[in-house]
């Protein structure tokens, strides 16, 4: 109760002091404003970049395993070279065996890729990704059908010449014509369009909508007879991912007849690897950015400390009087700490407002995002700056000898 009273009183005194020296307080606040604006913008930029990255790889799915010939990232060059030499591509036979043996998988989709020009009537589209796969792809990729249907198990089994097209293909190649039922030509083979996928956006700059999906058997028959395969495996919901991964690994080793002393000659990739890689590369950049921007906040803090020292020196008599009539050290300390914290909090609030409006201005140029954690963090940082930089002057004021202080001219 007594503490609250002291706090209340300290707040009043310091508010009066701030108002008594308007110019001085404004300039001190301005220093903090500059610091908070730069730090907040930097934090928002890092956050925005992170979110943009996460969003761009979200189509990979966190519970999908990508069984491939090579791992996405190699620690060293010699690992890379070893992989390049030793590993065999995944084959159709292995994919089929995997489909039959996995128990923890919800869906398994072998995939073969090719890039071929696609023709429709007189129009032609280059750089369209042709994917040969089975009905499981709809689940492993997380894609949705907007018109028509996806490849059914019967289509996949029979290798019918049909295809499902991405939304970009639908808009670019058909340009408003009815896509369903039309005949496309890939490598001079006709494929009938049975479905159109919903728009998915892009991943790491790759469009996910500029693709055509055909049954894997049709792909093998008409486009490429022995392609290297990827196998996407989606784990059943609720299954431990480590366990699912281990099952895939053991099954693959079994299928490939690997003796126990041999390392894996395939790779199981996950979204996590990308995230880890991204964090590793951006952590350094983020650290340097935060360091450089926090320097300006530090300079602002020094300005506060300096002006608080002046303020303590000017008000030595006032402190003496307060102490003479019974103020405790704590009360004096509190008074000056509150003054510093007030200046910083006001500066922080103004800085946040400016940073917030700036993020709106640059939002369409740069992925920047102001989130609640960033806001709370910058308020806390400004408060901390006030407390840290105000502490030394306040301590000096609190430890003054009342007799000397009263005598001070």
């Amino acid at each position: 109760m007594k503490f609250i009273g002291e706090f209340h009183e300290g707040f009043h005194i310091s508010w009066d002091a701030v108002r008594a020296h308007k110019m001085r307080s404004t300039l001190a606040t301005l220093g903090i404003v500059i610091g908070i604006v730069t730090v907040t913008l930097m934090a928002a930029a890092i956050e925005g970049l992170n979110n943009a990255f996460m969003q761009s790889i979200s189509s990979l799915g966190s519970d999908v395993f990508y069984v491939q010939q090579y791992t996405w990232f190699n620690a060293t060059e010699s690992d890379y070279l070893r992989q390049q030499r030793r590993r065999r591509p995944l084959q159709m036979r292995e994919a089929e065996a995997l489909v039959g043996q996995l128990t923890l998988a919800q869906a398994v989709a072998p995939l073969a890729y090719d890039q071929d020009p696609v023709r429709y009537k007189t129009r032609k589209a280059d750089n369209v990704l042709i994917i040969g796969t089975t009905d499981g792809y709809l689940q492993t990729s997380g894609a949705n059908i907007s018109e028509g249907r996806f490849i059914t198990p019967f289509d996949a089994e029979g290798g019918l010449p049909i295809c499902v097209i991405g939304s970009d293909v639908a808009s670019n190649l058909f340009q408003g014509d009815m896509a369903l039922g039309a005949q496309l030509k890939i490598e001079d083979q006709s494929f009938q369009v049975v479905g159109v996928l919903e728009k998915q956006g892009s991943m790491l700059g790759w469009s996910l909508d500029n693709r055509i999906i055909v049954p894997l058997r049709a792909f093998l028959k008409n486009i490429w007879s022995r392609p290297p395969l990827d196998i996407n495996v989606k784990a059943k919901p609720g299954v431990d991912l480590g366990e699912a991964r281990e099952e895939i690994r053991q099954t693959m080793r079994h299928i490939r007849h690997l003796p126990p002393n041999q390392p894996d000659d395939f790779a199981i990739n996950q979204q996590e690897q990308l995230i880890e890689m991204f964090h590793r590369t951006t952590a350094g950049i983020a650290l340097v950015g935060i360091f450089i921007t926090s320097l300006s906040l530090f300079v602002g803090g020094i300005g506060i400390m300096n002006i608080m020292f002046v303020s303590v020196a000017e008000r030595t008599r006032e402190i003496g009087v307060r102490k003479a009539i019974g103020a405790k050290r704590r009360a004096i300390l509190l008074q000056f700490l509150i003054e510093a914290a007030c200046i910083c909090l006001i500066g922080g609030a103004i800085g946040l407002a400016i940073a917030w409006s700036l993020t709106f201005a640059v939002k369409h140029l740069f992925p920047i995002e102001m989130s609640w954690p960033v806001v709370v963090l910058s308020i806390l940082v400004s408060l901390m700056t006030g407390l840290v930089s105000g502490f030394l002057p306040a301590w000096r004021a609190a430890r003054m000898n009342p007799v000397d202080a009263l005598r001070n001219e």
Binding site: L27, I34, L295, V299, I302, V310
Partner: protein
């Protein structure tokens, strides 16, 4: 208006300087904190610029293994920053063949030397002492040695005879030589490169290692020998051309371009179907890539200086208020407004400069920690030191002017009466 002699001006400067110094000395803590702000601002600029310079040195020493006045011709660009939309374009180009290299060798009259190089990935070296995997295998001609600035430490370089008759000889880098032949000279010894016997005829003097790895861990064999053995997989060569001198460099590049276009039958209206690069063009590309980064970092780090300037202005205002009486007395005994103004601006500049000098010192040390880490020679960005100190003065003048103006415009009578 009285005309001032230069001596009088000098005396005035000296007087305001000594007053500034004594004012700074009178308030040690306050001055120290104020200049700490400037110090940090300047530090952040200088440290970033020094680090950038160090990085640039690092790239220059690593990106290129070419000697002076040398350029190379390849099918693929050496480095690509940013997206590789042109990948297909390069991929469709014809590989650079040995015949192309021979054509340049024969017809380039302006070139001091022409080398033909093939990079044949990596192999395992086996000698009677030691086995070493991951050794880079290069197929070369005699002309490659000056282009790479390779010096022969022991034995001899390749000769035309070695290349023409595709002999099984090799020249090895010095660190490789020390590893696989720990005892005695390697010259005349035989070694197995991927299981095939070669006779070592020479050792190349070390170029040292860097963060990018050991630069002396390679074996050179005649390009013809290499093509006989690995050519079916990897027949894409690099042609290295060294010009006679800097004056004829551009002519030499043009001549070689013409020869290549003829040899590869490029129609006059078609662009080159090969890439030309030299050290300079690589560095230029790097600079272009880092320009926006540098500009951004400069802006961010100068913001700290802005905050410091505001701190200076604040403390100068306090100082003016405290010294109102002093100002009144000076005015009363005949100091002009101008003198008072000079006194306070001088105080601000001196504060900033002291902070600036210390900040530059710390910045250079801080930036060169990176150089120590990357094992490149330290860099001192003289232009930025000068610029940094200049910026300090500007900060002092800009943020000291308002307090000084306020001091100069105090009414002498009021300020004498001030308590």
């Amino acid at each position: 208006m009285k005309f001032h002699k230069p001596t009088l001006l000098l005396a005035e400067i000296r007087e305001s300087l000594s007053m500034a110094l004594s004012a700074i000395a009178a308030h040690k803590l306050r001055s120290a904190l104020t200049l700490l702000g400037v110090l940090i601002g300047v530090f952040s600029i200088i440290v970033v610029m020094t680090a950038m310079r160090v990085l640039k040195n690092f790239v220059e020493s690593n990106l290129s293994q070419l000697g002076g006045q040398t350029f190379a011709i390849q099918r693929w660009p050496q480095v690509q920053f940013g997206n590789d939309n042109d990948w297909e374009k390069y991929w469709r180009r014809k590989p650079i063949s040995l015949a192309n290299g021979r054509a340049v060798e024969e017809k380039a009259t302006l070139a001091a030397s022409v080398g033909i190089e093939g990079d044949f990935w990596q192999g395992t070296v086996q000698t009677r002492f030691q086995k070493k995997p991951n050794v880079k295998i290069l197929g070369e001609t005699p002309g490659s040695f000056p282009a790479h600035e390779w010096l022969i430490e022991d034995g001899r370089a390749l000769t035309d005879g070695d290349v023409d008759s595709a002999r099984n000889v090799c020249i090895i880098g010095s660190s490789l030589a020390k590893t696989v032949f720990p005892l005695g000279t390697p010259v005349g010894e035989s070694l197995k490169l991927n299981g095939i016997n070669y006779v070592v005829i020479g050792v190349i003097a070390p170029k040292g290692s860097s963060l990018a790895g050991d630069q002396d861990n390679f074996a050179v064999i005649p390009v013809t020998t290499a093509l006989n053995r690995y050519g079916r997989w990897w027949e894409d060569l690099t042609i290295l051309v060294q010009a006679r001198d800097a004056a004829s460099y551009d002519d030499c590049v043009e001549q070689v371009r013409g020869i290549m276009r003829t040899a590869r039958k490029v129609a006059p209206d078609q662009p080159d179907d090969f890439e030309l690069y030299s050290n300079d063009s690589l560095i230029e590309q790097f600079n272009k890539f880092t320009r926006s980064v540098r500009i951004g970092v400069t802006i961010v780090s100068s913001i700290a200086l802005l905050a410091a300037g505001i701190g200076i202005m604040n403390i100068m205002l306090v100082s003016v208020t405290e010294r109102t009486r002093e100002i009144g007395i000076r005015r009363a005994v005949g100091a002009k407004k101008r003198n008072v103004m000079a006194q306070f601006i001088m105080e601000a500049i001196v504060l900033c400069e002291i902070g600036g000098v210390i900040g530059v010192g710390f910045g250079i040390v801080g930036g060169n920690l990176l150089a120590l880490f990357m094992k490149v020679p330290p860099a001192i960005p003289f232009d930025w030191i000068v610029l940094g100190l200049l910026i300090c003065s500007v900060v002092g003048i800009v943020f000291g002017t308002y307090p000084a103006w306020k001091a100069a415009n105090l009414d002498p009578i009021d300020s004498l009466r001030y308590e």
